[in-house]
Symmetry: C2
Subunit: 490 residues, 2 copies
């Protein structure tokens, strides 16, 4: 009994800790300064972010010089703040951090996130020593450190974000990332692709709170269904391996490993002070743990999208519908090379398609289906409906090769393309078969404008959009393989 209640106590403590990280009641930005150049200062960017996201807790600013920013008083010292502070964002220089942590301890701060860099990633003995020192001080003071050398937290549910302009809605994808730049890019691009986040942590050098802590927490976080991780190095290989294995049992974990080559590892060491393992070791580790390995941020987004949007197809048989003979040929090669099957349609389906379309020249009807310019004026609805209801196909790809058809050059063309999107959405609403859209071969501002707009309409209707057929074929194959392995292991 004593044992159980102790564990309970510990677990409650741990939960409270995470609550301070993702749902602080008060935040202090320490080391904020007014902009000196055309660019806002680091501290100002954090302040902008909290204001933009409508953070509900209290926000305090600290800088020995005092003054005001956006009408907010700047306190000279954290101890001057009249109320308790849960979470500190530090922009002070590295040498000032030990004293800051002591001050935070005195103030009862729970979490300190250090944007501040200049620690182990410098590769100097002094840097490593300083990192150790702040960890030890924080431990003594009962404070958890995020970073140093990181951007911090984005948690839309609690209106807590490190950068203005991120999506305000929550989702079920978590992302932990050793690179601040990658974090920002991935949030932006994935949001445009229809992904919304539960919790994102840019955790830099991982001096205290590290990848294993974060995985263990996200494994049981009820708001998180899919976990993405960009990792340069881990603190404790055995612990990480264990945490990854346990997490991957519960939720898909998609990992991008940075610093896989010797020179890449050198760059990673300078970036986050990470001690990286060899590529082969990582490959084995990720495979054994049941994690999904990707090799770029784009691939990571493609996988997150597949897990977020796709119902599990019954098999690997894919129908391909699109415009452009050459695009269709390359699409078929890409799907086949990725391990998907592009079955030829039987005579009955072929006949139904040619009844609809006539025996129009320039039209390929046997799967892949390539519609000539004339045929696609008559729309996708009827054709796609045949594919959606044909039992020997497990999922369908519709692709829009933009610059192949001068979509942007003619308003008439543009209207036809818009109506094709509407018809894809209509078929998807009426059918339970997984549907995927690819918008590719964009080549002008107008192409991209159309792509962003169509992409939004499609994902709002539940259809994920990818930007290359090679990429989507790889993503679907990995998605199917993941579920096949799950099934085989269960």
């Amino acid at each position: 009994m004593h044992q159980a209640s102790f564990c309970q106590q510990e677990s409650m403590e741990a939960n409270r800790e995470w609550d301070y990280i993702f749902n602080p009641q008060s935040v202090a930005i320490v080391g904020i300064s007014a902009r000196k150049t055309t660019l806002p200062s680091v501290g100002e960017r954090y302040l902008d972010a909290l204001l933009d996201h409508g953070f509900k807790g209290k926000v305090y600013l600290v800088n020995p010089k005092g003054g005001k920013i956006l009408g907010l008083k700047i306190y000279a010292h954290i101890k001057d703040i009249p109320e308790p502070i849960d979470y500190v964002i530090s922009c002070v220089p590295a040498p000032a951090t030990p004293q800051l942590i002591k001050d935070c301890t005195a103030k009862g701060v729970k979490v300190i996130q250090l944007f501040t860099s200049g620690f182990s990633e410098t590769g100097t003995e002094a840097g490593r020593r300083l990192e150790k020192e702040i960890c030890s001080l924080a431990h003594q003071g009962g404070i958890r450190i995020i970073g140093p050398n990181c951007m911090g937290v984005y948690c839309p549910k609690t209106n807590f974000a490190y950068r203005a302009g991120f999506a305000k809605e929550s989702g079920s994808v978590a992302f932990i990332c050793q690179s601040g730049g990658h974090t920002t890019y991935l949030i932006r691009e994935a949001t445009k692709r229809g992904i919304r986040f539960s919790k994102v942590v840019s955790y830099g050098n991982a001096a205290d709170m590290n990848e294993s802590d974060l995985l263990n927490y996200l494994a049981v976080d009820p708001d998180t269904e899919i976990i993405l991780a960009y990792i340069e190095g881990v603190k404790n290989g055995k612990r990480f391996s264990q945490a990854l294995k346990e997490t991957a049992k519960i939720k898909p974990v998609i990992v991008l490993k940075g610093g896989v080559t010797e020179t890449g590892a050198r760059a990673a060491a300078s970036h986050t002070g990470a001690l990286v393992g060899s590529d082969r070791v990582w490959d084995g580790l990720l495979h054994q743990a049941g994690a999904i390995r990707v090799y770029s941020l784009e691939e990571m987004i493609d996988m997150a999208l597949s897990f977020s949007y796709l119902p599990l197809p019954l098999g690997r048989r894919i129908g391909i519908l699109g415009l452009g003979g050459g695009a269709t040929v390359l699409a078929t090669d890409a799907c086949t090379n990725a391990g998907l099957v592009v079955p030829r349609f039987p005579e009955a389906i072929h006949k139904r398609l040619s009844n609809l379309l006539g025996t129009e020249a320039g039209t390929i009807l046997s799967n892949p289906v390539d519609l000539s310019t004339e045929a696609w004026e008559s729309g996708f609805y009827n054709i796609l409906n045949i594919l959606a209801n044909y039992e020997e196909i497990d999922l369908n790809i519709v692709h829009f090769p933009l610059a192949l058809f001068a979509r942007s050059l003619s308003p008439g063309n543009s209207r036809v393309w818009d109506s094709l999107v509407d018809e894809v959405i209509k078929v998807h609403r009426e059918s339970s078969k997984p549907m995927i859209a690819v918008i590719h071969f964009a080549s002008s501002n107008k192409d991209y404008e159309w792509m962003f707009e169509a992409q939004r309409e499609l994902y709002e209707a539940g259809i994920p959009v990818y930007h290359s057929i090679g990429n989507v074929a790889k993503a679907i194959n990995q998605f199917l393989s993941y579920h096949e392995h799950k099934l085989a292991g269960s």
Copy 2:
């Protein structure tokens, strides 16, 4: 003597034939009709193209129904045209083509380009027979056929183009392509990347004029320095292999093979009636011939750009300068994996860099060079100058990861980014070392707007721009390997 003059005669004949293809004095668009829907008709699109490009020859329209389009008289029959016709663009239905070729023979037409499809690509005996019939009729009539089932020719030097809006300036890159859509996309996208064309031919089914004819011609065409080819299948393997070998001896030939999988081959057969060989056979053939194989249109453009813009670097040692620690780590992995070398800077260079930048935290100075947000406000010029003048580096990559730094969100940021581009151009002007730019991680309309603008400024200054470090690393490796093999073979 007799032999020689006969050959000369033949070669003059052959040259005249090519002159009719790329520099016709008069063109008739046969089968043109006024638009019935929101989209212009096929014939109208050809007419638009000739008008837009300022084609200097005469243009005639033919349709049995007569009438006018854009004030131009439509002749009921080609024989009614009062002047000779060199080049016919056919939009008539397939069954009408034999009679058209007879009429063209009577009229003395030299080249007929058939947009018309419905021949061997239908997979029917009737389609194959019709294709044979028109070839035989054309041969008898002394007419060369381009196509059927193709877009035709783009030759900016003679203001001859199949589509409005293509670049009006000439360049040194030729492209032969079995897919009309690929042709259009590649012209558009490559133009945006700074490539200009000598001659482009979308040749579809290759019933008469085929890939080997085109290669033989381009091999000796003085306007062409680099040749791109998208090929689904060849008519005569031995002849093609010979033509490719001879051409690749003289000029780089970059080949994308479509239909490399069994299902892809089935799609290719329906697309252009091509009989495709196995992937392995093609790989051997291309390698033996000394051609450069690529696997996507993007890769093809990357290679064309490398050959168009890059002086041959002295070796494989690359300097990497950019923003974003994570981006830098992945860049280093990509370069190393592609076979490039990212040498660590010696103490002397490191010192010069840190003298410039201070020992600013968040900055990596040992190659790759990753500048913190603060450091890049002070500009690229001085830093890049050190790299450009350091003898142990053979070429430099500067990369701009757009969405990592909220470039688009702040006007101040945008100005800083613009000045970075100016400084890259300035260093490039003062140095003879190859310089490459990568603009990546775009994620919004504004990102793409900036990218297109910066890309144009950079290529106008002679700096090629790529969109991913993985891609550029592969392209440089292939570019270097090509020259290494040339050198070893010479």
